[in-house]
Symmetry: C2
């Protein structure tokens, strides 16, 4: 590889890498004046990729994955089929652990600690994967190809566009920040979706403090420059405001003591409360804590315009207008559909929708062999009432127009599996099973007979569809969708022969796979000052310091690789001992 010499590093590294028995060994030792914690990462030599080159007769199916966010990366990590020719196209050559982005904005965690190169993630697997750092700008479903272009601005020039053919296409391109077309937002506000955004915010905070330190800056200007505004009271906005507060009061006040009196953070929320998707107890605690911390929470006011130095607000209740001078504004009000997806939707007949629709198997509606996972699409759930006649006739085996207990039991599982809202409805009504639901609308006499005609069946299920809920655009959903879809690909051949899904009520036979089912594992809302709120499954609410430690452990365990885990824990330790860095890099 590099001549005759072997360095100490190489020799030691090779010992780790080539002897699996040595790997997964934790080596802890201290050097004078610092510490060294070494954890071996198993690196297999890059061999698997061409393992199948010896069988050139079988033409590999081409699988193209667009995007390397939570959905795309989770899909790639769970994929196991070496017979696929996989091409990944993404403008980022890395996966970013986005839940830590608010921490990156203030340096609690470094940007490099929360990213992992995609090539690193996939090369450890026995897959045939190629990666292209490019942006897909057009999907051509007729010729089954995607048009891509490089996002680099280098001195290379020339023909930067290329196309990639596909047999299967997985769209995992995520979403863009939603500005609601508010004028001036794109020009003047920071977003918080990408690693670059977080780095820009970090520089911008330091810029504000350095500018306010200059003798040419007036008192009034200092007040304006050190006014930090966060628009959007969702989990990201709240966490950013909390992190910013900690950075300002734990670190920057020590370095810029004269400026302490000018510092201010305002959190703007158009609704009545911040964190409105959380339990009321959490919302109340957060608002109370922010008040104590001196973070001004302004609810019920909408941003109508952003200029380079001020934000125009409109009070929702009174219609009153107000002008808010600011130094830096971070915009975090939800997500919108990317232009390339909007174009694609027009092409496939979804032009009248706001968000791209898939079915419960994550297949994009209206086009074959195209899947969509993560924030770029929503699952267009089928209503039970839409299929009610088909379900009834499928269940009514002897075709007598009546359903009895025996008839039910044959299809109950299929109904529950096919329509997730049924289970939610049963839960909300605290019913044990489907039979109880069917009996609930009947008088006691009828309950004895346990026979239903189509009308009674309909009325029993009439409320079920109201429980349909679209999934939130979170990392958790995206990761679960990626994993689900990868598992479908892994067992595709198997399931072609032995379908595992529920009955097709409108057709014959069964669905190939079970439909995607989201399992909510809870959600955190870090509130700063080592306090975190968590809403856990079963509506269990936990708030405080202990929850912060739960947050640390969950996030450390969820990190994508041992490298990032090591780095993030190191960053937390560093911040504890040395504080956050305020160098303007």
């Amino acid at each position: 590889m590099r001549g005759t010499y072997y360095t100490f590093y190489q020799r030691a590294s090779n010992a780790f890498r080539h002897h699996p028995s040595l790997s997964k060994v934790l080596v802890v030792c201290t050097i004078s004046g610092g510490g060294l914690v070494a954890y071996s990462d198993v690196r297999r030599p890059f061999s698997g990729v061409y393992a199948d080159a010896a069988q050139p007769t079988i033409k590999k199916k081409k699988l193209v994955v667009l995007g390397t966010g939570w959905a795309g990366t989770s899909f790639l990590k769970n994929l196991k089929d070496p017979s696929l020719d996989i091409q990944v196209v993404s403008p980022s050559n890395y996966f970013a652990f986005t839940p830590l982005l608010p921490s990156v904005t203030v340096g609690t965690v470094e940007a490099r600690s929360v990213v992992e190169p995609i090539r690193n993630i996939v090369r450890k697997k026995n897959l045939d994967v190629g990666f292209k750092e490019a942006e897909c700008f057009k999907i051509d479903t007729v010729n089954q190809k995607v048009h891509c272009k490089s996002t680099q601005k280098t001195n290379s020039g020339g023909n930067e566009e290329f196309t990639v053919d596909y047999d299967y296409l997985v769209i995992a391109m995520g979403a863009r920040a939603n500005t609601f077309n508010t004028p001036g937002v794109i020009e003047n506000a920071h977003f918080l979706k990408e690693v670059e955004d977080a780095l820009r915010i970090r520089r911008s905070i330091i810029d504000c403090f350095e500018r306010a330190s200059l003798p040419s800056t007036s008192e009034e200007e200092k007040k304006r420059i050190l006014h930090f505004v966060v628009v959007g009271g969702g989990p990201t906005g709240v966490e950013f405001a909390a992190e910013l507060h900690d950075f300002l009061y734990e670190d920057l006040t020590n370095l810029y003591p004269d400026l302490k009196k000018y510092m201010m953070i305002t959190l703007l929320e158009a609704g009545d409360h911040i964190l409105n998707m959380f339990d009321k107890r959490i919302t109340a605690f957060a608002e109370e804590k922010f008040k104590r911390d001196g973070i001004e929470v302004k609810t019920g006011s909408m941003v109508v315009k952003v200029t380079d130095k001020s934000i125009s607000l409109k009070e929702r209740s009174t219609g009153e207008s107000k002008n808010l001078p600011y130094g830096m504004v971070v915009w975090s009000t939800g997500i919108g559909t990317r232009p390339v997806i909007i174009d694609f939707m027009k092409q496939i007949g979804q032009g009248n929708r706001r968000v791209m629709a898939t079915d419960e198997w994550l297949r994009v509606e209206g086009v074959p062999n195209v899947y969509a996972i993560g924030d770029c699409a929503t699952i267009n759930q089928r209503r039970v009432l839409e299929d009610i006649s088909a379900i009834f006739s499928k269940a009514d085996k002897n075709k007598n127009g009546k359903l009895n207990v025996e008839d039910f039991t044959g299809v109950i599982n299929d109904i529950v599996e096919r329509y997730p809202q049924v289970e939610l409805h049963l839960k909300s009504k605290k019913m044990k099973n489907f039979v109880q639901l069917l009996q609930s609308n009947q008088d006691s006499a009828a309950k004895q007979t346990t026979q239903l005609d189509i009308e009674k069946f309909k009325s029993a299920l009439s409320e079920v569809d109201s429980k349909m809920k679209s999934l939130p655009p979170t990392a958790q959903v995206a990761a679960q969708q990626g994993e689900y879809l990868a598992k479908c690909f892994n067992k595709m051949k198997e399931c072609d022969e032995n379908p595992e899904g529920p009955l097709r009520f409108r057709d014959s036979g069964r669905h190939r796979f079970k439909p995607f089912r989201y399992k909510h594992l809870g959600q955190f809302a870090p509130l700063g000052g080592e306090q975190t709120a968590a809403q856990l499954p079963g509506d269990w609410v936990s708030i405080g310091h202990s929850t912060q430690w739960l947050w640390y452990s969950v996030y450390a365990s969820k990190l994508v690789s041992w490298r990032t885990r090591f780095l993030v824990i190191g960053d937390w330790a560093r911040r504890f001992v040395f504080g956050r860095d305020s160098s303007r890099i």
Copy 2:
């Protein structure tokens, strides 16, 4: 500070910070899946600054320091006089440990690990220091003020210029990269002087690999894009080439195996050898090692032009021209004077010089109360022969036109101290002392008399001035100058009364301070693959793996703070276990 709540972090941090006895304690503990090494850094509350505000009657002398590189920071770190009103003006709000910049370009060490905010460095001292993140664009010696402007491009606008008055001015602005006016260099080449340069190079390397991975890139283009050129065979260029080689062959070949055959590194040097300021053994070893590694070293060829895709070379010996297509070029051919210094030199009558001149006390020649340290100036050493008559008459106490041993001994120390070249000359001639030198040119008969007239005195010292050598523009020199000047300021009042310097030969009395004397501590040249060459004092040469470990320990010990020390050692450990990161951030 932040309401009633104290977090775990705050409580624990405060324990560390407020109890000096707890500080300097090394806490090592491991958390599941990672490690935590905590070293307490003593942080005194920010109190010293206004300690003197109670005595407003004494008007503080205003000291302005321009620049926060090696010279400026070393000056600030060693300054102890609380009676000065110190203003620091620099475009960077941090000090960067520049010897590790080549490591930062490839991610062996992270950028944040080699920087320390200036405010952090100075606030630990009992000094009255203000920092302004701005660039000095004009020095007005008539009104004793510097004109500065903010370097930020933010939305604040307005009057960005301001002036700072000084009683003493310390110029430590460093130098700029020298392009020798070669066309296209500024537009197309990377430099390696600032942290930002290193980060840009890192991104650029990954860009080249990602671009070469695209299907739209032709074979020829791949070859061009993956051709990395380094111009300048000095220590920085050589170290960068070595680091780049390690990054390419230790990390990137694993992630981009198909591109290995296109990779190439060329090192261009106009002279006959690389590392020509080092011992010949080191040069030979370096050239041999680079050859083995496949780094093409091209000596004796000058770059005459750089376009966006190719470099025009001219063979020095044959005059032959050649075109070298490249993907990335790093320019590291020495330093030039900054425009603001050139303007300043014209103002003070140094317009005909290339570099600003100071005397041996680091005072800028031709202007009072202005000092210059580091790369922005050179010491204009006084020739012995220039002062020879004055020295003679000072030594000739009885004014008989002859010097005897007694006369010598009265001034020997002063001469040696005032003219550093004398000592160098003695060393090179392997003479024990000055008397031996004076006797060396005489015949044995005259030696007995040990009397010298002016002509003999002149001829004895005639060769001494040939040993005058300007100091190299290194971190070591800059740091020593900063420390020297700070110590002069610390003892200024004391030395005003009791001058400690040598005799003034042309005037009466003694110089206030001893002149600056550089003490060379050796120089390293890391050559990649865990091998380093070092030229140590006494012309001791050391090459190989053990020198690399010497390099690690010296650099770890020289780092500016415990924080950076901890981070850099952590980075080295991380690279050993996980390799270097190739995410394009």
